[in-house]
C-alpha cells in the first residue's frame, strides 16, 4: 500500500468517523444543553399527582423533522436553568424564544397567533371581554397542535412530496451549512402548502366538533367532521387526496390566518350565508360558482331534526331499496327451498 493511498484512506476514514459519530448526535437539533442525554429514553415518565401520565421522552428523529428543530429546549421550557432540573411548568406558547425573525430582527413569538385567536370564534372571551359560556370547552394551542412536522415538497420536474436533491444541489452552491439548507428547504416548501394532510386536520377538528356533548352544548347543529366525511370531499380525504378541501379551506377567509376563524353568523365570515360561494368559487376549486351553488348543504346529516328534507328523500330510497330487494330475496329463498325439496307434499287441492 502506497503512502498516498494510505493517507487517502486515512482521510476518508476520518471523514467517515466525523460524519458518523460527531454530528449524528445532533446534526440538526438544538440540543445544546444535552437534554437528550436523559430525554432520549422512552421510559422517562411518571404518573403525576392527578394520576395523569407524563411522558418526558422526546423522539430525536421526529423532532429533527419538526418545525421547532432549531429552537433550544430552554427556548420553550424557559424555567429550566440547570441540569438536573426540577419538575417543569407548562410551556407558554407565547413566550419569546431565541429565534430571531429575519425580516424584523425581533425575537420570535407566537403572540400574533394568539391575537388572531382572540378575534376568532374560538376565543375564550367575547368581544366585550367577558368569559363565554362553557369557556372551558374552547381550545388552547395544544388542543389542536402537537409538534408540527415538516412536509417538504419537490417542484423540480413535477410536484411530489419530499425533498428534491436537485434543488438542494443549487442551494449548496452558495450555502455551505447542510443543516441550514435542509431546514430552510423544509420550512419554505412546507409553508407553500397544507401543513397537515386534510385527514389529519379533520381529526383535530373532530376531537371537539364530533363530540356529541360539545355539539349539543354549543348548538353546533352537526357533527361537523362526520358530515364532512359523508361528502365527496371527506371521502376523498379519507383516501388521502390532498387536493380536496379540509375544514380550514372553507371555514377560513381566504388569505387570513386559520387562527382567525369566524362564526358563520358573522357577516365578515366566509361561511356567512351570503359569502359562502366565495369559498367554493376559489380559483382552484369550482370557479364561476353562483350563490345558488353555495346553497348546497355541506353538513347535511341523515337526521330528521337537522335536515328533514334530505331525511325524507333518503328515506324514500331506503324504502325503495329495502322494499324491492327484501321480497326478491324471499322469492330466491323460497325458490331454493322448492328446488331442494321438489317432491315435498303439503295437503293441497289438485
Amino acid at each position: 500500500m502506497s503512502l498516498k493511498r494510505a493517507a487517502r484512506l486515512y482521510i476518508v476514514g476520518f471523514i467517515f468517523i466525523v460524519l458518523n459519530f460527531y454530528p449524528s448526535k445532533n446534526l440538526f437539533s438544538a440540543d445544546v444543553g444535552n437534554c437528550l442525554l436523559c430525554h432520549k429514553y422512552p421510559g422517562l415518565s411518571r404518573i403525576d399527582e392527578q394520576g395523569k401520565m407524563k411522558l418526558l421522552y422526546v423522539n430525536e428523529d421526529i423532532f429533527n423533522i419538526s418545525v421547532h428543530l432549531k429552537v433550544k429546549c430552554e427556548g420553550c421550557h424557559t424555567d429550566i436553568k440547570k441540569i438536573p432540573h426540577d419538575p417543569v411548568n407548562k410551556v407558554d406558547c407565547l413566550v419569546e424564544c431565541h429565534i430571531v425573525e429575519p425580516s424584523s430582527e425581533q425575537k420570535f413569538s407566537h403572540k400574533d397567533v394568539d391575537n388572531y385567536v382572540k378575534k376568532s370564534v374560538h376565543a375564550a372571551l367575547d368581544k366585550y371581554g367577558m368569559p363565554k359560556k362553557f369557556k372551558e370547552d374552547l381550545p388552547t394551542c395544544k388542543n389542536c397542535h402537537d409538534e408540527p412536522l415538516y412536509r417538504p415538497l419537490s417542484f423540480f420536474k413535477q410536484v411530489r412530496p419530499g425533498i428534491s436533491e436537485a434543488a438542494l444541489g443549487r442551494c449548496r452552491v452558495c450555502h455551505k451549512k447542510e443543516d441550514f439548507i435542509i431546514r430552510f428547504y423544509n420550512h419554505v416548501t412546507t409553508r407553500l402548502h397544507r401543513t397537515r394532510n386534510p385527514i389529519n386536520i379533520a381529526e383535530v377538528c373532530a376531537r371537539c366538533h364530533d363530540d356529541p356533548l360539545l355539539v349539543e352544548r354549543h348548538n353546533l347543529g352537526t357533527r361537523a367532521v362526520f358530515s364532512y366525511g359523508e361528502t365527496f370531499h371527506g371521502k376523498a380525504a379519507r383516501f388521502l387526496d390532498e387536493r380536496v378541501p379540509d375544514c380550514l379551506d372553507c371555514h377560513v377567509n381566504t388569505g387570513e390566518s386559520v387562527h382567525q376563524m369566524l362564526s358563520h353568523k358573522d357577516s365578515a365570515a366566509i361561511t356567512y350565508r351570503e359569502n359562502k360561494y366565495l369559498a367554493c368559487s376559489n380559483i382552484e376549486c369550482h370557479p364561476g360558482t353562483s350563490q345558488q351553488f353555495a346553497s348546497y348543504k355541506v353538513h347535511a346529516e341523515f337526521n330528521l331534526d337537522q335536515s328533514p328534507v334530505q331525511y325524507y328523500f333518503t328515506l324514500f330510497f331506503i324504502i325503495l331499496t329495502g322494499g324491492t330487494l327484501l321480497p326478491l330475496m324471499a322469492i330466491i329463498f323460497l325458490d331454493l327451498i322448492r328446488r331442494l325439496f321438489p317432491d315435498a307434499v303439503i295437503p293441497r287441492r289438485r
Binding site: 379519507r238 387526496d241 348546497y296 348543504k297 335536515s307 330510497f317 324491492t324 330487494l325 326478491l328 328446488r339
Partner: protein
C-alpha cells in the same frame, strides 16, 4: 329482424331465439360499464369499509378512479341514448309503419295501444304469474306459472335499470357539472343528487348482482352460467320452465305440434336429468 330463425336445432337439441346481435352487444356494454361503475363507486359509498381502499387502488386510487367512473358513466349514458333511438326506430319501422299500411290511417289511440301491448310492458298476466309463482313456491300447486315471451322477472330486469339509468344518470350529470347545473337549479339539488345517485346505485347493484345473476346464472336450472346473453338462443328446457305459454305458441307456429313437451317445474326437471344420465 327476420334473419334470426325462431328455432335452431344443434346436436339434436332445440334452441329458441331470444336476442338479436345488436341487443346482445348493447347488453354486454351495459354489463361491463355497470360493473366498472359499481366497482369504482361503491368504495366511495362505503369509504369506511376495510376493503374500500384496496378496491379503489385497483382503479388508480382517488386520482384516477373518479375519471374511470365518469368515463364508464359516459359510455352508459351514450348507450342509453342509443337504446332509446334504437327502440323508437324498431317500433316505428317494424310496428307503426306496417300498422299504418294495414289500417291506412294512424291515430294516437292506436299508437298508445300499440305501445301498451309491447312484449316488455307489464300487464295483468304478470300479476297473475307472480301470484301463481307464490302458490307454486309455497307448495300449493306443482305447476309453475307458464310465462309469456318475457316473464315478469325479465320485465323487472329491464325496467329497473331503465329507471335506474334515468335517476343515476341525471344525478350523476348534475354532480359532474355542478357549477353549470346550479345556474339553473338550487344547490340543494346537489344534495338530492348525491343521495339519489348513491342510494339508487346501491339498489341497482344489489338487484343486478343478486337477483338478476341468480335468475340467469346461479339458479340450478341454469348453473353454472346462462349462455343466452352470448348466443342469443335459449335451450328448450329453460324455455319450458320459464316461458311455457310462449313455447307452445312458437312450436305451433313452427308446425311442431306433436313435439311439444309437457310443462314441468324444477323438480321434474331434476328427475328428467337423472333419467338422461
Amino acid at each position: 329482424m327476420e334473419k334470426y330463425p325462431l328455432i335452431k336445432t344443434i346436436n339434436g337439441r332445440r334452441y329458441f331465439y331470444r336476442f338479436s346481435l345488436n341487443q346482445r352487444v348493447q347488453h354486454i356494454i351495459l354489463a361491463l360499464s355497470v360493473i366498472i361503475l359499481v366497482l369504482t363507486g361503491m368504495p366511495l359509498k362505503f369509504h369506511n369499509a376495510g376493503w374500500a381502499p384496496y378496491l379503489y387502488k385497483i382503479f388508480g386510487g382517488i386520482k384516477a378512479a373518479p375519471i374511470v367512473h365518469k368515463a364508464a358513466g359516459s359510455i352508459l349514458l351514450i348507450l342509453f341514448a342509443y337504446h332509446i333511438i334504437y327502440l323508437v326506430y324498431v317500433i316505428y319501422k317494424y310496428q307503426i309503419v306496417p300498422l299504418r299500411d294495414k289500417e291506412r290511417r294512424l291515430t294516437s289511440g292506436m299508437i298508445l295501444k300499440l305501445l301498451a301491448t309491447q312484449p316488455l310492458v307489464p300487464n295483468m298476466k304478470d300479476a297473475r304469474d307472480i301470484r301463481d309463482l307464490m302458490t307454486y313456491l309455497l307448495y300449493f300447486t306443482n305447476k309453475r306459472p307458464d310465462g309469456d315471451a318475457f316473464t315478469w322477472k325479465e320485465k323487472f330486469d329491464y325496467w329497473a335499470p331503465f329507471w335506474g339509468m334515468v335517476v343515476i344518470g341525471l344525478s350523476g350529470l348534475i354532480m359532474w357539472n355542478k357549477v353549470l347545473a346550479t345556474k339553473i337549479v338550487p344547490g340543494i339539488v346537489i344534495n338530492f343528487s348525491l343521495i339519489a345517485h348513491s342510494d339508487e346505485a346501491l339498489l341497482a347493484a344489489l338487484f343486478l348482482f343478486i337477483w338478476h345473476w341468480y335468475n340467469v346464472h346461479f339458479s340450478i336450472s341454469v348453473f353454472p352460467m346462462g349462455m343466452v346473453f352470448i348466443t342469443g338462443y335459449l335451450p328448450e328446457e329453460l324455455m319450458i320452465e320459464e316461458h311455457y305459454e310462449y313455447y307452445v305458441k312458437i312450436m305451433k307456429q313452427a308446425g311442431l305440434d306433436n313435439e311439444i313437451r309437457p310443462p314441468h317445474g324444477a323438480h321434474s326437471e331434476l328427475s328428467t336429468d337423472e333419467a338422461e344420465k
